[in-house]
Amino acid sequence: MRASASRVFRALLGEAIHDAVRRRIVPAIAVVSLMSMMMVDGCTTCAAAPTIVQNGVSVEVPEVAGWTGIVIFSVLALWTMVLAGVLASDHLAEVLGDGTAPLVLSRPVSRASFALARLGGVLVIALVTGMVLLGGTTTLLVLRNGVTLGPAIWGGLACALGATITASLAMSLSLYLPRIATVMVVLVGVGMIATVNAIGLFRVELGGVVGAIDRFGPPLGTSVAMALAPWIAPAEVPADPLEVSIRAAAWAVAGVALLVVVFRKQDIGK
């Protein structure tokens, strides 16, 4: 008798999460996260008194708090996406390489279930880290700087979509490239997209490949910044929120579908 697909998936996901938790990189993530929170604590304390002294006169600058929040939140969201990509760079490839996967795949387990469970394991770790970082940051910003909570929730969802895009694409790539190469692609890719998105948000006209990346590529930076735009009202973000949201969701679905397709074609136990 074959176990139900959901039962198989839960069993595989549990193992994938355990594997992810036991990775050597996890203590490093905890340390970096703790340091990030200390830094955020310092930054939000400064921004808590948003005044600029100009020629001996104090000037109220309400947007300082909003801009500070957007910058901090966006950097931490991008860090969460990078983390998801780095973790995904060998979470599937490793169990194929070390020979532990073939025994599991000899059972009535679909390749899609196995790949999605491994992706799920990565995302659980990355998103829990993201929730701690972004949740802590939001709490400090709301309490100290008076920003509203709503944009942070949308920003968190945008971060989750970005992490899914990064992790699924990195996991697909890891089936063809060595880990170090996959990690480099993640770092360069996320960095480049975030930079292009940031330039685009400042209404700089982008052409050629860079412009195409900003308009059609995964909107990793744009989606987060756009969600947080109400913090700097009345400033406007030069992008259509609906289009960016649909594009982020489409990239996430495409990334996961690509992973399933390439893993189905993969030779196991070479």
């Binding site: 008798m1 020979g99 000899s106 030779d267």
Partner: protein, 237 residues
């Protein structure tokens, strides 16, 4: 009904041809030993049967289904040549996981895990982490997971690798027990005496082809041992 069918299967990896028009069947309840020198294509045949790779030409069926279909692997047990198990898991946890994947649940799962642990003589190591076990004990864990879910077809690739002489004898008994329960067995091995004792039929592979197949009496000529017959078939003399 055949437990498996291999029909005119050719498998190429780039320029290299690992299997060339290989055909054989395994009727339900019977056992077949795949013999052959290193690189003959035995492990590639097993990988095709498990859906780990696809044939370049020909077809592979497990109980009438394509190995790519997870349903074809219901009731399949596999013991790979280079058995690698997650070092962090305890023996019991690994068996619970494989039992779950094999379709067991609740009290039935726990009962079968206990039975497998007892059968393979590792009940006292159930709480040990796999990473701390010797190669021989790890191989016993491999056998224990293979017995979960009362398999109808076992793929055993060099199953006694790493076992001491007592373990080899016990392994033979375990395979015999599976056969008594009606399980079909496809075993790949270099150890001719082991295949001779366990299998009804033998197929000798060489350079990716079936060089000889049949029951022992058909392969071994008068005055020959299986080893003599193997060398004759492989060397072409």
């Amino acid at each position: 009904m055949n437990a498996l069918e291999f029909s005119g299967v050719t498998k190429r990896f780039g320029e290299r041809t690992a299997l060339r028009r290989v055909s054989f069947t395994l009727p339900e309840g019977s056992s077949l030993g795949l013999l052959g020198p290193n690189g003959a294509g035995k492990t590639t045949a097993l990988r095709l049967l498990l859906g780990f790779t696809s044939p370049t030409e020909g077809s592979v069926r497990l109980a009438g289904k394509s190995p790519g279909d997870p349903d074809s692997r219901v009731g399949i047990a596999y013991l790979p040549e280079s058995l690698k198990l997650p070092a962090r898991l305890t023996v019991r946890r690994l068996l619970q996981l494989h039992g779950t994947l094999a379709g067991l649940a609740g009290a039935e799962l726990e009962r079968e895990v206990d039975e497998s642990l007892e059968l393979t003589g590792i009940a006292d190591r159930a709480r040990d982490r796999i990473g701390g076990l010797s190669k021989g004990l790890t191989q016993r864990v491999g056998f224990a997971q293979a017995f979960l879910g009362k398999p109808r077809l076992m793929f055993l690739d060099e199953p006694t690798s790493g076992l001491d002489p007592i373990g080899v004898r016990e392994a033979r008994d375990w395979i015999g027990l599976a056969r008594d329960r009606g399980c079909s067995v496809l075993m790949s091995s270099h150890i001719l005496s082991e295949v001779e004792r366990v299998c009804d039929r033998i197929a000798i592979m060489n350079h990716g082809e079936i060089a000889a197949s049949g029951d022992l009496a058909e392969i071994v000529q008068s005055g020959e041992t299986l080893e003599d017959a193997f060398v004759r078939v492989v060397s072409g003399s």
